[in-house]
Symmetry: D3
Subunit: 249 residues, 6 copies
């Protein structure tokens, strides 16, 4: 099985390599994981504007990757920017968003999950994501650590502590019985087990679960529904022949 992980914006090569290796280490034996970062886009995603900004370039990468026989692609942002569009553009390659996938996993493991997000400004979009995932009913709360994405990596211990505090708050006040890390950078800190030990409930790492769910769905022969995510009419009818032609100037 071939899975590709797509970072929706520029990222330093070392970190890209580190994330790729982590993903490969989490994969099944016969899964090959590639990683690719967009060459243009936001440095990190902390607003809806940055989500949208990342989509056109990332969509093009996804569209091209389908031709390279990947079985599945994973969007490398827990806000799942443009997931519906990516799914419109692919016919055979499953596309998964780690945000919705993580929330759905929370729904599977207990009665109520909370999402730990980076900034207050992302709380509302987390609720919208839960609605799109269909599990709003099980979302206990969205709590924020208020640390910008790019600082999260700089001080792992400090970040870990803030995440643990936010998680405890959700479990004690909001009836959460599992936690979803709402940011890929949190995910690649690889701290879920440590948080779990401190807070006492399952902690879902979007970076890892995205991959494992891709393996499960591809292994089941399942693809996202083309009735739900129809190919854009102009492409389907042959009026245009490429994504570039869809963008009129």
């Amino acid at each position: 099985m071939k899975v590709v992980y797509v970072v929706p914006g520029p990222m330093d090569k070392e970190e890209v390599k580190r994330r790729g290796e982590l993903l490969q280490s989490w994969a099944n034996k016969d899964t090959e994981v590639d990683i690719i970062a967009a060459e243009e886009g936001p440095a990190s995603i902390e607003s809806m504007y940055e989500e949208y900004l990342s989509i056109p370039a990332t969509a093009k990468i996804i569209y091209d990757l389908e031709k390279k026989n990947y079985d599945a692609a994973i969007l490398g942002c827990a806000g799942d920017p443009g997931l519906d569009a990516m799914r419109e553009l692919t016919d055979k390659m499953l596309v998964l968003g780690p945000g919705q996938t993580s929330m759905i996993t929370g729904a599977m493991l207990g009665n109520k999950f909370s999402v730990i997000t980076i900034e207050d400004s992302m709380i509302n979009s987390s609720y919208e994501l839960a609605y799109k995932a269909g599990v709003l009913e099980k979302l206990a709360s969205v709590v924020s650590v208020n640390v910008p994405v790019l600082e999260l990596r700089e001080n792992r211990e400090k970040s870990l502590k803030k995440i643990i505090d936010a998680g405890k708050k959700a479990v004690e006040n909001d009836r959460a019985d599992s936690l979803v890390l709402g940011c890929m950078t949190m995910g690649f800190l690889d701290v879920a087990e440590e948080i779990e030990k401190e807070v006492g409930v399952p902690v879902i790492n979007p970076s890892k679960i995205g991959l494992k769910m891709a393996e499960a769905l591809v292994g089941s022969g399942l693809m996202h529904s083309k009735k739900a995510f129809a190919t854009p009419l102009k492409l389907k009818s042959g009026k245009v022949n490429s994504l570039d032609e869809l963008n009129v100037k």
Copy 2:
């Protein structure tokens, strides 16, 4: 009051002019309406991919327009592409999406409204829009005429007939007591009154109501909530000084 209407993609100049004149004819005496079309983007919007494709260029226009003392900007697509992002980018200029505005008007006039959309592929996103607007509970159904946007204009009579048929279906089967036209091109056909006569329920024209609501909100001194739509952190903190700098290459 100064209001600007922004078409989120290239459009022939004559049609832009025609739409601008219609808008001005609907405006209050002391409202000045300008219209501007993005120079790059989708030819029409019939998929989520095309919605996202339109956002970066349109957002930039909106961001620049705020400096020109407009009181309000109206997004020229009934899918409200990137409305949350546009609102993140503006501090003093109200931004409205005609899709959410029309649905909310449907909620105000009766108990259940239906949306008439262009293609089956846009049905799901109409439900999501109603959720974002907060009026999902009053959405009776989304019905589609299955006519591509660019053909809608070509044969006004045929389009009108299809819209009336779809509207009747919604009123008879789905308990709708008002109808929302779910596409700006439908809106600028200026057919709401004719449909109303045939179907017997209020018909909401997104092109017109977007403008009138902008006038009402600006006239009330109201702005979209900056707590709900926070300025992107990197802009706010001064780490970057322009939208261009947010887009790293």
Copy 3:
């Protein structure tokens, strides 16, 4: 455009005049606003009983006003007492309730709004009103200042302080990002801007937004749905010829 504002109970003439002048000052240039107070009814509305008590006399006024070529009537109480009945009785004159209109405006400006009401006893009916308006999903909370209506006016500064405190509570604890003043007397204190400055989110004045929405809807050629609010059968069929005949003794 001719709009009439109907106070659903007796009010001292000076205050009626003051409110009428405020309304006219908020109106568009070509809008003429009249104001009329019922000669019988509750002194103020702080219970469901008083809401219902106000309806028969107010309905009769509304029914008669339609014959005087008004384009719209606004019910002068934020509980919208009998709004559905008033709409049943009118065919050409739009009737708006400032309560539902304000809540819908809250839904348009952000993700969650809170209502500031006068007494704990009105909290439940505010939730019901949000359900009727179709925006319950966006109602963050209803908070009360616990000041009787008639005292609100007596000490503007004290009232203002209590409203600000309640508003801050809603924003900090309940995820509200806009506030609705849930009482016309609060509205006519004309304090929205001062609260907005203190609390930092949009504050919706029901007295003002009711008028501006009436202008927007009439300006769009829209009327409430007669499919939703059918004329009472006995009136429609001609079995009775007046509201008085509907009331058998």
Copy 4:
């Protein structure tokens, strides 16, 4: 136990007597049922306007009856007009609305109930009543026979047939597994058993269940919640001493 049934409008004495006798025949051995009809109000209730019209006179009756040591009062209309207000006005006498009571009984007996109402114009208010009762989630549909209330009694067989047809439609198309008769005149036709035989699901007679629930609740020592339905402030504080004083002229 003393229960009183209050018809919210004028009714011919013979029918009042007949209804009172039916109620007494349904009552427990030690329950004494009285019946009283308002001397003023709508001839029948087929619109929200007529609902509201009935409230002030009926509320006054209820208010006075509490002083006569009744344990419970039942509102004689399946729309439960002004139920919340009646409950605000009583401290020791339970007030029940047969509409909400019947819907709640439907919820108790199966998974989904449908309401059979008299006119299309009452469909929306039936949904609102289900929301107030808290059982909207179990409401399968509201179907209408489109027969005016006063004609229902005239031709029992024809009415019965129409109700059976509507009931079958609800059971076959809408997943209903019990039926609620949504009108007291239907209830006093005493046809529930005949419908049940034809349609094959439980049929809830609001006239009967209102009484039986009153007996059950009074027998359990339960009263409606005064926290939910607070006494109007002006009455409670002693500022006014009667309902008449609440109505200023």
Copy 5:
């Protein structure tokens, strides 16, 4: 009328007798109440496992009791274990669960009710029960006293105090205006009136209301819906002739 109360597990005879006598004292004059305890099953029910453990033996008792001309059976546990199955097995004898019945009564008396349960581990299942009852929308909260069932009886005063504290918390923080005791052992402490006096809102005793509702429904000629709770196919078709035969070994 003959009603039977079935304790879903072994219980000491004295307590069975005491409960039976309490039930008879609460009954209408012409109601005969019998009580029977299963000879096998959990000592008390504090987990879903214990709920399920109780069902097979209890179902068999219910199935046999129907042949003894009881009009109604009441399940003796506020978790309503296997209520749907019991209803599948009976054709003429109404089966009621005190849990759902109590919640529905809460919905009838006010706007929001809270459930007081024994252990944190039963909170989630209380929410599920409210969903099954169809009144989730009116459930304010579930609060727990964290006292094991078998200890509840041992120290009536201590238990009462804990219940009062939990009830006050629900009323003050969660907008509850009535309380449901979520455990039969709480119910048979017969403390509802004392709690009501302390907390100031109606307190629903599941032990009592189960009986009174059975009387009301039987008195109305109502049975649970067989469309909702169909007889198991193998029994209905005659493929098996007894519950024992359904259990293959």
Copy 6:
């Protein structure tokens, strides 16, 4: 990884073997799948009574299996009978129900899924299962083939045709864009791909997806939440030492 599949009732050995082999053929290379059938219980599950009947024996098997170092157990019935109880009884071995798992997969692949169940009598419990899974919002409908479980296997072609017809109905009428097979016997017919070809939307096989999800969750180091599914108090506190002791006689 070691996974065990538990059939919750007696099944002929050949079929057990066949199912075990199918499961192993679907498994990852390093997953070892065992299968075990309860020696006592229902011959098939077509009612809630049969669901409950299966639980005590199956729970005991699950409880014992945990000591044998399995990483995950899968309940062999799409109604997930007693899933919450099984999870209460295990501390280290993940327990999954194929019903909830399949519905959640439907939610992941599109906007609305429908469940194809065996009998009308199982429709209501499918809705309840979707509620428990947290994805009720995305459940388009439940459609039934009305073929008893034990006949499903006898005529594969006839069963397949009925399933396809039901699936088409759901897709055309109910807005479904994926289908869930609501019965393990359907699942082990291994017909998902054939249905998918005919109906044109993803078809989720509960037999397969249960296994693949178990692999994904175990592979992510995730376990069901013990906060959500607490160990029964008497077991945890050591008051009893075995499941047998919990069952008092």
